[in-house]
Symmetry: C2
Subunit: 112 residues, 2 copies
């Protein structure tokens, strides 16, 4: 059994033209020997956003705190603490923090 | 994109001799068409506990609120909000709420 505190896991700033003010933590991942899927936590500062992109695997998202918008190519939907979101494979998506507090969410993906 | 509120997902009481005061919510699962893994949330009332058992798949756990104990066949470790836990395949485990508030945690498993 591996037990950690979220705050003990390094935050890495995501540097890319399509991303603003996003930090990533790999809470449970390959270094822990996960067999099938990876638990990451993202922190998006007010005014920040994740990639507007698509890929061939899903996201399972749980909003820990804050509020924002989930976008795909058809809709923008308000999201907040205690929303869960399934982004299906090949679905365009982006998470935007339009609030005043950090938007913190878990985002799980299959291990490649 | 499927978006839900956690509170909108039905809580089902887990009825079994080896379990006390545990409710389960399937936040993202087969009914949502998840491709690879299932996000469940468990609520354990004070004095309650989950199965002391083992199985051939992993758990990835994120403590949302409350406090308790994670047991395996060697140790008992205090857990609380913002701990993450990897239970490896075939590892004996149990979660016990020895606190005064509900112990709420996400527990993800691979889709069988």
């Amino acid at each position: 059994m591996i037990i950690k505190k979220v705050e003990s896991v390094s935050k890495v700033k995501v540097i890319d033209d399509g991303v603003k003010d996003v930090e990533k933590q790999v809470l449970l991942g390959p270094d822990d020997g996960v067999p099938n899927f990876i638990m990451r936590q993202f922190t998006v500062q007010p005014g920040g956003y994740t990639f507007y992109h698509t890929h061939d695997y899903e996201h399972e998202v749980y909003i820990v705190s804050g509020r924002g918008i989930a976008r795909n190519d058809k809709n923008e939907v308000a999201i907040e603490k205690q929303n869960v979101i399934l982004v299906t494979p090949n679905e365009v998506h982006q998470f935007v923090n339009n609030g005043t507090e950090p938007l913190v969410f878990l985002c799980l993906i299959p291990k490649s």
